[in-house]
């Protein structure tokens, strides 16, 4: 018998809007030393499945309607709360998606680490504080925290995202559990950090022979780490099999759709770049922010600033799609905003079609604003929740005098056609749409003024992979039809390769490397670029496994 056997699990949410069958008849099993990946898009029920195993769902609204989950022969779904506490403490551990919010900011990481040891509900296994401290320091060392004795007394905010996830891993392993559940453990991390964390999880698993359930939406990540995969969609299991069968020989339509949606390879559209006709010229641009955590007096004036963009020069040709790639904190978003004059420029200049827009006043900028628009990352936050789609789309048209009372209805309807939304949806509010549809609205708002330049800041990174593919194709289509020039900012190298003519790699506020997309992919010159490209997970189990093995 396997370590964990889940049979016919059903979890329903009784909400005000009715019954949601979040998990509907899901069965799987996982054994010691095995990694089972649960793959699915948002709303597929993959997280709910795992949370119900440890009784972490809010009840109500959640209710387990049926099934069993036998761990070592004991049903996790029906055991009492004392037993559940013991399982949580000693047998089943969990790593969560966002290391920034999953650690308590008010308590030192050392204290959080030793809690499962000193408060162990199984009294015979509880340890003294000093013994627990030694054990925690040993584990911190094992997960790659440098100087663990000193770091033991630090608070979470003193660690970077990747380091916090290492702390989370140490915390999960502290009682040597037999099952480790990882809920999207690398989704919130940069690609190079992701590669490190995946290698770490793999290494620790092999050493301890624990069973791992790995929840992810990213097939590239799953390819390397999983032995078996189940594909979930809308609460049901669509396919189960070993990793190679799923990736190389799937017969399931949904799995095929998922695999096909991963952006792969070069841009298929021909380049529309008009050589020697620069639309945007950025010269020696610097954008510094005051660092309020540093004292006003004392430190040298240099140190008081965060150099978000530090002496960057670039140009964008008419008709070009320029990809801007960088990890979090690289300054790529600030650069995009500075070009649009949405972030204060400390030094340098930005020319738009020969005019220095960085020298214009707010008022003088207004006509230029029409020509340059932005698409933001999070369509949940960037649309005003109190404005209907109609109001959102009509506002820029009316403000810039591009429509009058007679033509406005027709123009807004044409915009809806442009972004592939039904005209009947015009009177709806943003919350009535899915993430992909919202991003279409945001794109419609951006192209409403018939701009020449669009700066797209991570426009698809909040979207599921199948939706992401659709929105990317929409963007390419609109660039073609409306003759747009685009700066496409993303952390996702595959997406950038799929869409850009030319790529700029940024790190810590400066440009590392620039080149034609395919040339850069073929032979990156800078070590940082090489490192970035090597870290991209591919949806190919053979190459991914080889890479993980060499990394760990």
């Amino acid at each position: 018998m396997a370590l964990l056997e889940v049979n016919g699990l059903k979890v329903h949410f009784h909400t005000r809007d009715g019954l949601v069958k979040a998990v509907d008849d899901v069965s799987f099993s996982v054994d010691c030393g095995e990694t089972l990946a649960i793959v699915g898009e948002s709303g597929s029920g993959k997280s709910v499945t795992c949370y119900s195993l440890l009784d972490l769902l809010p009840k109500p609204p959640a209710k387990i309607e049926g099934g069993s989950a036998l761990f070592d022969g004991v049903d996790l779904l029906t055991c009492d709360s004392t037993q559940m506490r013991s399982f949580r403490s000693n047998d089943i551990a969990m790593i969560f998606q966002d290391p920034m919010t999953s650690l308590n900011p008010f308590i030192t990481i050392g204290e959080q680490l030793i809690e499962p040891l000193i408060y162990n509900p199984d009294k015979s296994r509880a340890q003294t504080r000093s013994a627990a401290r030694l054990r925690a320091i040993e584990l911190l060392d094992e997960v790659g925290i440098i100087d663990p004795e000193k770091r033991f007394d630090c608070y979470p905010h003193e660690f970077s995202g990747g380091m916090r996830q290492r702390v989370m891993i140490a915390m999960a392993l502290i009682n040597e559990p037999r099952l480790l559940i990882c809920d999207e453990p690398t989704t919130a991390l940069d690609v190079t950090i992701q590669a490190q964390i995946l290698a770490l999880i793999k290494k620790l698993q092999q050493k301890r022979n624990v069973a791992v359930i790995f929840i992810s939406h990213d097939l590239g990540v799953v390819a390397g780490i999983a032995d078996n995969v189940i594909v979930m969609c809308e609460g049901t299991v669509r396919e189960t099999g070993d990793t190679e069968a799923i990736f190389y020989r799937t017969q399931n339509d949904y799995t095929k759709k998922l695999l096909a949606a991963i952006p792969e390879g070069a841009k298929v559209m021909p380049s529309r770049v008009q050589q020697d006709s620069p639309m945007i010229e950025v010269k020696n641009l610097k954008t510094y922010f005051r660092d309020y955590s540093k004292p006003l007096a004392g430190a040298r004036s240099e140190k008081r600033y965060i150099k978000a963009v530090d002496d960057v020069s670039l140009h964008i040709q008419r008709g070009e799609i320029l990809g801007l790639v960088g990890e979090s904190g690289s300054g790529k978003s600030t650069l995009g905003r500075s070009i649009l004059q949405l972030a204060p420029i400390t030094e340098g200049s930005v020319h738009f079609s020969g005019t220095e827009i960085s020298a214009l006043s707010r008022h003088q900028l207004i006509p230029w604003r029409r020509k340059m628009q932005m698409i933001f990352q999070d369509p949940y936050a960037s649309l005003n929740p109190r404005m209907t789609v109609y109001e959102t789309l009509a506002e820029p048209l009316l403000y810039h005098g591009l429509a009058n009372a007679k033509t406005i209805n027709h123009q807004v309807q044409l915009l809806m056609d442009d972004v592939g939304l039904a005209r009947a949806n015009l009177r709806k509010y943003p919350h009535e749409f899915s993430g992909g549809q919202r991003q279409r609205i945001a794109i419609g708002r951006a192209i409403a003024t018939k701009p020449e330049l669009i700066i797209a800041d991570e426009p698809v990174s909040a979207l599921d992979v199948t939706i992401q593919a659709q929105v990317l194709d929409l963007i390419l289509d609109l660039v073609e039809r409306h003759n747009l020039t685009m700066l496409f900012i993303s952390h996702d190298l595959s997406v950038v390769r799929y869409i850009s003519d030319r790529v700029i790699v940024m790190n810590k506020g400066v440009i590392i490397e620039t080149g034609e997309t395919e040339a850069l992919w073929a032979s990156p010159q800078q070590p940082y670029t090489q490192q970035l490209l090597e870290a991209i997970p591919l949806a190919d189990p053979k190459s991914e496994r080889a890479r993980l093995a060499s990394a760990s």
Partner: protein, 311 residues
Amino acid sequence: MFRFAITRLLQAVPVILVVISITFLLVHAAPGGPFSADKAVPPEVLKALEAQYNLDQPLWQQYMGYLGDVVRGDFGPSFKYPGRSVNELIASGLPATAELAFYAMLVALIIGASAGVFAAMRPNTMQDYLPMSAAMIGICMPSFLLGPLLVLIFGIHLEWVPVSGWGDAPGDKILPAITLGTGYAAYIARLSRGGMLEILSQDYIRTARAKGLSESLIITKHALRGGLIPVVAFLGPAFAGLVGGSFVVETIFQIPGLGRFYVQAAFNRDYTMILGTTIFFATLIIVFNLISDMIAIWLNPKLRQQGQGDN
């Protein structure tokens, strides 16, 4: 932290100055004066009185003179209590008022915070609705109604505690403290419920649960510190409010506190007394706000460390 405190105190100086100026102008603009009474006072007596208290000088001279006195910490002589200074009068009423405010604050904190935390543990159940409805009633119930009601029940009917007095009989401080604290308890209950609900929905509470910690440990160790930050921020203004707002309770229970001076001064046009008590309360509000802000900073490790970097 030290630098923060100094900066805030320096910022308080112009605030106090504005308070003094506005109060000064208002009391002098109000009709009547400290020596206008029902009985006609002979003009020469009035003149002599005004000369004694410098009221015959031009307004700006009086203002400058008063400012000078305040800087030296002297609020001047009271107009209505001959021979006694405002400093003396405040000092005589302050101990009782401060003690009452302190007990009321204890009542408010203990009842309010525990009710709020209790309610937040099971939101939208009876465990939530009952204490929160009680809190709503507590907020709506004015102290001039609650005080006599408590006196009627516990003082007269049950004869458990004395009906009035302050420090004369054992237990005579209980009813005033409860009367004054109830409204604040209710408010603190709502604040701590909100704060706890916010914290209990955080990811790190889920992490703590997944580690196998008991619910009581999750509440006390992981949630309370963050959840009570809104309450801490409220404590400063609340304490100043308790000190300044104790007039009704002091009157009901015959407590020799500060509140009666404050209200009587306004009726009596006792210029120096109005100004003195106003400045005193303004300072109190500023100081207590500062203290509660500093506690809130100290509770948050990130802010605390930045504060240390400031030294």
